[in-house]
Amino acid sequence: MSNVTSYDLVVVGSGPAGQKAAIQGAKAGKSVAIIELDRELGGACVHRGTIPSKTLRENALRVKNMRLNAELAQFELAEDVELVTLIDRLDDVLDAHDHYMRNQIERNQVDLLHGKASFVSSKEIEIKSVRGESRKIHFQKMVIASGSIPRHPGNIAIDHEHIFDSDSILSMLYLPRSLSVLGGGVIASEYASIFQALGVQVTMIDKYPKPLGFLDDDLCTTFVNAFESMGGRWLGNSVVKQAYWDGLSHVVVELENGDQVKSEKLLCAAGRIANVKILDIEKADLQLNERGLLSVDENLQTAVEGIYAAGDIIGPPSLASASMEQGRRAVCNAFDLPVGSMSQMIPTGIYSIPELSSVGLTEDQAKKQCGEPIIGIAKFNEIARGQISGSQQGMLKIVCDNQGQKVLGVSIVGEGATELVHIGQMAILSEANVDIFVESIFNFPTLAEAYRVAALAVIAKRGNRVNSY
């Protein structure tokens, strides 16, 4: 039985972007509906990505640290430990998150519609339930926040049994003895280092010379060195011809140079594309751009008036933090609400082992923008806390302007990077000079002291009052 209902705002997708969009609309007094095709709220971020992988990462870190401290405890991970044991408490975490989200949605009187959405026109959407029932609803404004799905290259026979994508990799029941990871981006780097830390023999394969190419070379090199020191293998400049299951016990990766890499399982992390397959966006006069994403203007509006998009579906940075802000902004723009003074500066956090994080300009970007930035670097093995906690594999880099004054960017690799970066973020936002890190007192011993060491390096290079501190 079809019902026609009308809302001020319809949001497709309940991930980070969709959630914030819906709540913003509700708080502005609009009638709002969220359409979600899964039974649970939160999208890929909660159920297939961020939360499960970070939970796994925490245990991978514990395992790695326990192995490093073998003198304190004879530790070895149980043979064939089930993956569910390593992603412990995940059900509790997900239940708590779902419960919290439902409460928030209910409290804000947002209607939650469970079903698959598809456009009828640029003002009407059809929702089909799991039982095949259909209803149509009109909307004044729409935010498409349906997220992304893994890209499946044609030469990789992904079967979610031996060859996985990033949505299915955590469906494995047990840790494989060996794993090939195709790709050099964030997801590939995170999973490759996490599984290597758990004792899986991991080979990362990518066509580019180094992973995480959007970061500075020295950070990438530090990451690769750390990965290889755990036993991992990085095969850069390697083009994959095809990958397939041999029918018995191995996945075979054939490289264009004639080499073969065999492993028990394989993760294909070849990027993610907009999740619009079921949306029938053409009926709303929308189409994907050449990168397979939805294009939006500076107000996050698509080419169709009244239809906005936010989150992974519009492309990088594809971070939950950015998506949340995009969702909120899209609705503010849609209803001419004040956007507020939320900063545009979004740090990047990569939850590999070790972590990487960056905010503001990288060294490469600063060189392009201002010519001769002054760089200061602190190595974690020079910091007392780095030695004490065994986090010697790390570095912190401060990028300053040509005068060595203003902080333009901070990049960090090493444990705690995703927390430490916020100190640099605050300095950039307050337009502080790098001297602030020397003029301020940090707790001792902490990794944050790396800011002081890096700042001193900048100051030394700018040639001012070398011995003042």
């Binding site: 149980a78 698959k116 799991v130 079967d159 049994e161 469906s171 029941l173 047990y174």
Partner: protein, 287 residues
Amino acid sequence: MLMEINQLAQTLVESFNKKIHSNDIEIPLLSEVASRVIRLTQDSESGAEDLAKLIQSDQTLAAHVMRIANSANYSPNSSLVSLQQAIARLGMRVIADIALAASINSKIFSAPGYSDFIAQQLKFSLHSGVWAKEVARECRRNVEAAFLAGLLHDIGKPVAIHVVINYLQSKNRELPRQEFLQIVSLLGRKLNGFVARKWELPNTVCEIVEHFNDYEQAGKAKESTMIVVAGAHFAQQYSNIEGREALSTDEFLASAVFADLNLYPDDIAVLTEKADLVRQTVEAMSA
């Protein structure tokens, strides 16, 4: 008549309970399966893939191999959860030895007049396993475990057949075919969980087998049980096995388990398109 069948089933369960205490539970193999194992393991020309296929295609052989592979002799420090894992961990040479030992040492089905029925049951379990794989794949859940659980979801049935035939022979009694099938079905359902636990099959399989007829009570195993139930539904609908009547399309699509698994009509349509592929896979595995 139903009461008599229920009473007989109860008698057989009690008789079976005694066997449990004496550790005397048999899952018989088909003679031709045992013969093929022996042939393949002795033939230096045959590839490991043929034996792997055979093990994965036969419910009772798979149960034997998992039981032995998971025993202290072979896996003292770990618990294997799928046939694929067993092959990867132990290697096909060891798996071949296990399969050979099982084939030589196990009871063989001796059920004159019922060999077709037994073959159909085993074929249905294979269809269920392959379909459970496809449902798991669609749901992005573990495919290996779904296959094993689908294959073994009615592992009680071959035991039930064996128990009923032995009982009837011991009492010099016969049953009309229809009643024989009814009692095997009843007894098989009662024995599923028993057999899975007694044979120390992987915990995931035990949970699924125990709750197959009531997945709402499966707790943390609810989703994986639903996947296997859905797989069995597809097998019932598309296996074209004699005695397995397909539902009408509407009845099939209205199966509660599909909605509970969040499978939309178009998801079911995608799965349905695999019917030929599944039949071909089953034929290839059974060849």
